[in-house]
Assembly symmetry: C2
Homo-oligomer: 231 residues x 2
């Protein structure tokens, strides 16, 4: 009880609420009311952000009654936290798998990350702006949810990178530049895509084509950058 906000002090706790359940397989379309609300919430939150989203938008998107939202998730804020947590961990998990493969080389990992993240982002292009702008309003979200630092610095990827540096194959001013460059080259076109589509007058199809090209180009570019640093 004690962790609830004032206004919820007397609200009965229901053990069957969705955020206490285990996440379902994402691919089986959830046609339960609860599932529909969560799907709708994900869509609307990702598109408009927390502050600009009205619970009515979510209810409408889900095709359900507004009251049901509070029945299942108790508050807009709680529903948002669920979506945020799932979005963040989905993003991280995806990377952690690749980063910790013992069998692949550093170069191969760059290829895999570029390819798999571009594919992921093509399916959910609004996610990066969503994450970055929500973190701006509440940076604490990051640490609450996921041990990002652990996942990063104890990864096979990170150790391989460090070894490449001590071997002299890379002479990075800082490993952070390597990370910023890799993620930046992958993610930036997606966060800037509204501008890009205006400036370059390119359609969605052309944009997809450009991103497909980048899957192959980014590893080449990263290699070139590493060589340039080694000089």
């Amino acid at each position: 009880m004690i962790e609830f906000k004032k206004k919820f002090y007397f609200y009965p706790v229901k053990a069957e609420w969705s955020y206490m359940k285990k996440a379902k397989e994402p691919k089986e379309k959830d046609i339960t009311t609860e599932g529909k609300i969560k799907e709708a919430a994900r869509t609307v939150f990702h598109k408009k952000g927390y502050a600009a989203t009205r619970t009515r938008d979510i209810a409408e998107e889900a095709g359900i009654n507004l009251a049901l939202l509070n029945y299942y998730f108790r508050s807009k804020e709680k529903l948002f936290h669920i979506i945020m947590t799932e979005t963040l961990s989905g993003f991280m998990q995806h990377m952690v798998v690749v980063l910790n493969d013992e069998k692949t080389t550093l170069e191969k990992k760059v290829e895999l990350i570029a390819a798999s993240y571009i594919d992921l982002l093509l399916r959910a292009p609004e996610v990066p702006v969503f994450i970055l702008s929500e973190i701006r309003n509440n940076p604490a979200i990051l640490m609450e949810k996921i041990p990002v630092k652990q996942l990063m610095f104890h990864s096979v990827f990170f150790k391989q990178h460090q070894k490449a540096v001590t071997d002299g194959r890379i002479k990075e001013p800082s490993p952070l530049h390597f990370l910023m460059n890799l993620i930046g080259l992958i993610v930036f076109p997606f966060v800037a895509s509204p501008m890009l589509k205006k400036i370059g007058s390119i359609k969605d199809k052309d944009f997809n084509q450009l991103m497909q090209e980048r899957k192959k180009l980014i590893p080449v570019w990263i290699k070139a950058i590493m060589k340039a640093n080694a000089k």
Copy 2:
């Protein structure tokens, strides 16, 4: 009259409102009430975005009475449009000057853009996320305000880049990749800085140091990328 929203049909038009005046020199601190409100609005909008900002936040930040905000700027929306326009054009103008210098080479322009934009972003690090997330909620903003496309494709920079391609010095799959890479390498660390500061546990001072390094490194990296493409 006709362009006003319904609720403003009968609101008297005042010719002396701030957004009709010419912009003042940015460096002389504006201590008029109007100036204080605008400064405060810029700060708060940039930090929290339109939807999450309350007019009361702005009034408090400016140290003035809430009613004065509507007295000077008539509505939250109008005030926001002023800030948005100034922010966007400030960003573009800054680039247009460099892009259209006839005397500098393509390579030199890359250096100048990297250096001047990183300096700009160090002074206003919240601006990229602000622009990108507001455009997400209202992409029309872009075209309303600034002829971005014109400025870009008729620039000396763009012509120089095209010439370098036809000369065989660059073999870009698309000039858009060049642009995405350059801007991405510059801007991405700033939009991702909250994550970066958590993941890398770096302080503001270390972040500044990294960005200073990037002023020199980005031109080198861009050159390396161009060479890799030329192969």
